[in-house]
Point group: C2
């Protein structure tokens, strides 16, 4: 059984050592890790193959096996990803604000690492390297808890990273992997608030719910996206159709894919046939209300449940509404606070939608697929936050930091 | 039994209405609330008196009864406090950042309310008005859960505020009080994550621990402060003594009071007698290690437990260390990440301390008592955060907001 308390203590020791490294030192270590992973390719692929064989024996869906599989080229991509993180600006130490007080105190608000970050994830072994490098760059020690399906791959990757850290004379406990994959260990990890400052679950809705309900460590919820496109009565159909098809079909299994369409009734008769045709060409099943069924007799009747569903599939729900206000209420009721888009040429409506919608990212005339750290220009991301505390939307390096007030006095006491 | 789900739903309705109010409208409502409380003074004092009588019957400590008691002048102060919040800048709507992407997307990061905030507090009825006004100003609906000792006072205050809201044609559910004071209701409230975005416990360590361990809503821990002053070998004694006495004795029951002193051994023989004399003059009991006992024979031997304790009393622990590095490790081991101060004339040591100490606020040559939203110039505060997520240190109006990305496109799709 994993000694979690010991791992927590090790992480705290590592975090203080890590905070003393300069940006240059951290970048050099990241490059060393990147090279080491390529160097260890054969070893890693061998271990990955054990996971793949187990998965095949267990009858895992081929799509999931593909997510689990590492190849020489995928390891090169992981390695390249780490080099790219080394090239990004280091947010740690940035001066965010200076406050001068009448009594002469000078208060500097400075970006600092969060400390120790825990990451829960499922069967994608690339998250191991990804989470390590983002946390390391921002001066955070990380404790990883990956899925049991990828355990051999994760152990191999973590060992290579730790070897590279040791060779670089850096505490290898900057990254630790929990090797036990049972539920009790996972739940005990969620209670490790004496050592861990933040827990980020990356994965499906079930994983996130479990972490949220059991953790005594602050959690950032990521990833669930029931994203809508609202077709306003002033929509430009030439923008609508490409955006809808892009948001729904470019990648169906991602959190920023469109799952539901809301259409203003004044434009419904005109646009629904075009929408139906475009979706059918892309083999997307339509589930709609009464009005939708009238225009598109081949559509399936939507249930209440459909409107709350993140399909992650070639299915879309469609709802016709009487007004933009009704569209906003409908979306605020069923969305997961992720990404929503309005298609309109009326800038007052755009403004009303931008203000009224409760979501991390609200778009005008663009695909919801842009909610992504890379697309936002952050250079990297650890996930998409769907809660409102600490960080919202794509989380890049800045969002993996906290701040500290440094206050310079010359003998001030409080009156 | 309180219908918490209904309260949550009411709060969500109120939050959307509140987000449509302009700054001017919110300020006018706050002034109306402020006047209403003065107008209702007699009614409120009558209810407060029931709490006071109950407390006296139960044999409550006179100091606690004093914290519970409202008077005409205290209600005027509460009312004045609300007017002051009305005068502060409204952070909602502030443009934090604009990102322009190569594909023409313009991403605006804008401050928005958090949504629905839950506040847990103990027996100070003034928190009722304080928490309401800070949340209202920042566009957040609030659900209050006060202590059973102050229940009649809290009901009276909340009713007055709600009456003022109704008269101002604002949804009174912008503030709701949970009137049931039993544990089951409290625990059920901590699970209301479908409606409540953030929970802030204000009170003692026990309350905070209970909330942290039971809540499925994101929690901001506030208030516990085991604050240190480190006397460096390059300390100026003329700065040290006034700062120490101020930090230890100006108010003993507050989280930013000094609870422990760490002294460099090179200066110990010189400063300990001066420290001892000054503390004795202020009736402060000293608990020290071997070296301290040698210099100050009247001191009590400190146990391991002493160094981890927030006394909130006229007691201080003292530890002699061999180096600034040892001072930093000792403090990082025992502190609660609140406020720490170094007394030194050596700016390299100051820098090492500022960087090495893990706390929300790190001071050079100043009293820890300055960790306070008012002292920082924030104009108000809801508490002092001792965690690293979302907000650290004094939480003013900005810290009661989240942000949202508003993205302007003209048909962009993801390649």
């Amino acid at each position: 059984m994993t000694d979690l308390m010991k791992m927590g203590q090790n992480a705290v020791v590592a975090k203080y050592e890590l905070q003393n490294l300069s940006t240059k030192q951290k970048n050099e270590v990241l490059i060393a890790v990147s090279k080491r992973l390529v160097h260890d390719t054969e070893k890693i692929l061998h271990q990955n193959n054990i996971d793949i064989e187990e998965a095949q024996k267990a009858g895992m869906h081929p799509g999931l096996i593909d997510r689990l599989r590492l190849t020489e080229s995928r390891i090169r991509d992981i390695s390249l990803g780490i080099e790219q993180i080394a090239e990004l600006n280091d947010p740690v130490g940035a001066l965010l604000e200076t406050i001068e007080r009448p009594n002469g105190l000078v208060i500097k608000k400075v970006r600092v690492p969060i400390g120790v970050i825990g990451i829960f994830y499922e069967s994608r072994p690339n998250v191991t390297a990804d989470a390590f490098s983002l946390c390391f760059k921002t001066g955070n020690a990380v404790i990883l808890k990956g899925g049991s399906d990828a355990i051999y791959s994760n152990i191999a990757l973590t060992n290579s990273i730790r070897d590279a850290l040791t060779e670089s004379h850096v505490n290898p406990d900057c990254v630790q992997l929990i090797e036990d994959t049972d539920r009790e260990t996972a739940r005990a990890f969620m209670k490790l608030s004496d050592y861990v400052d933040l827990l980020i679950p990356r994965g499906g809705a079930g994983l996130i719910k479990t972490v949220k309900e059991n953790s005594t460590i602050p959690v950032i919820e990521t990833g669930t996206g029931n994203c809508h496109i609202y077709v306003d009565d002033a929509a430009d159909v030439n923008k609508l159709i490409p955006i809808l098809i892009n948001a729904k079909t470019q990648r169906i299994g991602v959190c920023n894919a469109c799952e539901s369409l809301v259409v203003h009734e004044a434009i419904a008769d005109m646009v629904l046939p075009l929408i139906g045709k475009a979706l059918q060409e892309h083999q997307v099943e339509i589930r709609g209300d009464e009005s939708v069924l009238k225009s598109l007799p081949y559509a399936i009747r939507a249930t209440e449940e459909d409107y709350g569903k993140e399909y992650l599939d070639t299915i879309i729900s469609i709802k016709v509404v009487k007004s933009i206000e009704d569209a906003i209420s409908h979306i605020n009721r069923y969305n997961t606070k992720h990404s929503e888009s309005i298609i309109t040429e009326n800038m007052e409506h755009a403004d009303q939608f931008l203000k009224g919608i409760d979501a991390a990212c609200v778009y005008v005339n663009a695909s919801t697929r842009f909610t992504d750290g890379f697309m936002f220009g952050f250079g990297a991301e650890i996930g998409i936050s769907t809660q409102k505390i600490h960080a919202r939307g794509p989380m890049g390096l800045n969002e993996l930091t906290s701040y500290k007030y440094m206050i310079y006095g010359n003998g001030q006491i409080r009156e």
